[in-house]
Amino acid sequence: MPESGARRWARRGAALLVLLSRGAGAQPLESAAAPRFDSRVRGVIGGVGIGTSSVGDYLLVALGGQWQGIQSLRAGRWLLQWDVLLAARGGYLANQEPYLFLLGARLASFLELGYRWQAEQPLSPYLGLRAAADQQVLGHFGRSFSDFDQFNSVDGVGGLVARGALRLALGASLLEQERSLLLVGFLEEAFQDLQVNTEALALTQLGLAARFDLRSGLSAGLEGAWGFARERQDSQRALRDQRQRVSLRGGLRWVFEHTGWIEARASLARDSNQLEYSGGRSYATRDAPVFDVEVVYGFALERFLQ
């Protein structure tokens, strides 16, 4: 009887996990209780980020605090990940000349709680639930937020930007004394608030994510997603349109032995739109891709690697 497609992929996935774990110097899989994995860092951060957007390139610096970590709980039954950033943020948005100086604050956070079915095994199926929020308020001296409609669009960067997401992740967790590896596929509902020139957006996203942590302080993550918004009807203009997004983002963090940590994050995304006129044609448009790179240095107030 031929092997089914799903079974074949499951077998390949398991083999990949084994290869990855061996490649990283892991011990062979054992039937012992998974060891405790705890990597936490908290401190004062300073960062600089550059990026492109549909409303112009930007250079923003941040100064604030960050608390992030990954921790196994209940003898490896649960895995908790979190990242909370609260920072003053300011810089320039090149949406007009002279460039627009913006200053404000950002609160970005996520919390993911995952369940490991086989806590006693280093390798276990994993089910995670994540909530994420990213709020940013950037203003311009001498102008109220309502004045942003008098400038070239600042949507997505200036003014009040509120984003959020709920994610259901399913995959595999490898948890050992020295390292943790998560490989998941996810289904996510991402939200973005109404802005001056941009409609509120709710994207249903499907993606793959990987996160690798070493107890010594290295953490690396990579995820890619494809998402689509609900079709929007414009009855006055007899058209409907639907937005899609492909995105890729990754990060690398290294916690130094004594002083603190350094982290680099990058993302790349591209939106496309399908406009369809009732009784007319349809048009497949694509925005220019946008990317973002941010480097953060953290001075550790608390550092716990176990």
């Binding site: 070239n152 937005r243 406009l275 925005d287």
Partner: protein, 442 residues
């Protein structure tokens, strides 16, 4: 790595530009212009209706011109125009180009009041003066902040101060005007065909926002020129035309639409000017042609020589007059915005394009607009208030297309500039030569 894959990757790296937007308009490359209906001709008698409703911005996006203009759709469809050329020039106000038109062949247009002046930095009054050159070598600031300073709440007295603040001059040059000695061809156009003396830039700002109103009937998130472009998914006149099986083309030897869409000659629908001349000569013009000059060379934008601009427009007209499509043609010669050159008429308010979107209802200062067509009223001066979305509405009216926003929905469609009655002489006298030597005269 296989050689074929390596070749593919190298080819992609060389040809793929990830920074490019894609407007999804590739179908225009294969769309054929429908043949003109040979039965179209004179005898279309239009009425002026619903002016109060339109003044109150009563019509929303999607409204058909027939409903808003109060003329049956069948009557509008019988208008004998199947091709529209929009010759959009750059940055000149009405008073700046045609300050003497009232005295020089077109008494119907409003004259510049003798009392009109602007204070300069010393507090002295600066009155309109005959320009000493057709090559002005300073470009006054003309984005939104500058234009607000120029208009000054309707006092129209901030032009000189703005120019002084944004150029290395005393700013007096923005009060300059030209006459028919400087610009004989432009003056001939203005007095021979139908001119509007109440045509305003749709936005008190620069090129990008004002041109956006022509193509989208809204500024589409763009206020000042230079960096931000309308999103490619913005509903546009291009979409409306293609939905109806109609064609368009953008013609320029510089940047199409003066760079306002970030397009270049690789984009669908973009052509060189020679292709416009060839299309006119062969009778293969698309239904709508957007024609732009070369930046700062022959597009009339300072520091361009206006007489070079005259020559460019005259060449287009020569090909149009000789074209087998002349009898089906309407050309609108206009300017995207006033470029912070002085004008004495306070801009009124326009309709809000889309609720909860762009708040811009303040029009910019007046710019020249002349309708050139065998069907244009000869020697006519219109005083109906409109902006560039009236051109958009004219196209929508002729081709039976719905309005993009409330701005074009409530426009008058420039129909008073035309006379489609029978028995008229549709011939055009030979145009004069363009001016010369104006650049050297300082």
């Amino acid at each position: 790595m296989r050689p074929a894959r390596l070749v593919w990757l190298l080819a992609c790296a060389a040809s793929c530009d990830p920074q490019e937007s894609d407007w999804g308009l590739g179908a225009i490359r294969s769309l054929q212009t429908p043949p003109d209906d040979p039965t179209l001709g004179c005898g279309v008698e239009l009425v002026v209706a619903n002016t109060r409703e339109r003044a109150q911005c009563a019509y929303p996006a999607g409204t058909l011109a027939a409903d808003a203009l109060g003329n049956p759709a069948a009557l509008l469809a019988a208008i004998p125009i199947r091709h529209v050329i929009i010759l959009m020039r750059e940055n000149r106000s009405f008073d700046h180009l045609f300050g003497k038109l009232h005295e020089r062949g077109q008494p119907g247009v409003e004259a510049v009041p003798a009392s009109f002046s602007n204070p300069d930095e010393t507090g002295s009054d600066v009155f309109p003066t005959h320009a000493t050159t057709t090559c002005i070598d300073s470009d006054p600031g003309h984005q939104s902040a500058s234009m607000q300073r120029c208009v000054n709440g309707g006092k129209m007295d901030g032009f000189v101060l703005n120019a002084a603040a944004t150029t290395r001059t005393n700013g007096h040059f923005v009060m300059d005007y030209y006459d028919e000695i400087d610009l004989p061809f432009y003056y001939w156009l203005a007095r021979s065909f139908a001119i509007s003396d109440r045509h305003f830039a749709p936005n008190a700002s620069g090129t990008f926002a004002n041109r956006a109103f022509l193509e989208f009937a809204t500024n589409a998130g763009v206020v000042d020129t230079g960096i931000v472009f309308p999103p490619p998914s913005t509903p546009s006149l291009f979409h409306l035309l293609m939905n109806a099986g109609l064609t368009w083309g953008a013609y320029s030897d510089g940047l199409p639409f003066s760079g306002s869409l970030d397009w270049d000659h690789a984009d669908p629908g973009v052509h060189r000017l020679q292709e416009l001349y060839d299309a006119l000569d062969r009778g293969t013009l698309p239904n709508v042609a957007f024609v732009d000059g070369i930046e700062d060379v022959d597009d009339d934008h300072p520091t361009a020589d206006l007489q070079l601009g005259e020559a460019r427009v005259r060449t287009v007209l020569e090909h149009a007059l000789a074209s087998p499509q002349w009898q089906r043609l309407a050309m609108f010669w206009t300017y995207d915005e006033a470029g912070a050159f002085a004008d004495h008429v306070p801009p009124p308010r326009g309709c809000l394009p889309l609720p909860a979107r762009s708040p811009f209802t303040d029009l910019g200062p007046r710019v020249p607009l002349v309708a050139i067509s065998p069907w244009a009223r000869r020697g006519y001066a219109s005083h109906v208030v409109h902006d560039h979305t009236a051109i958009t509405r004219f196209i929508e009216a002729v081709f039976g297309l719905p309005a993009l926003t409330a701005r074009d929905a409530n426009s008058d469609a420039l129909l008073d500039l035309f006379d489609f009655s029978c028995g008229r002489d549709l011939g055009v006298e030979a145009p004069p030569e363009v001016g010369s030597g104006g650049c050297a005269r300082r």
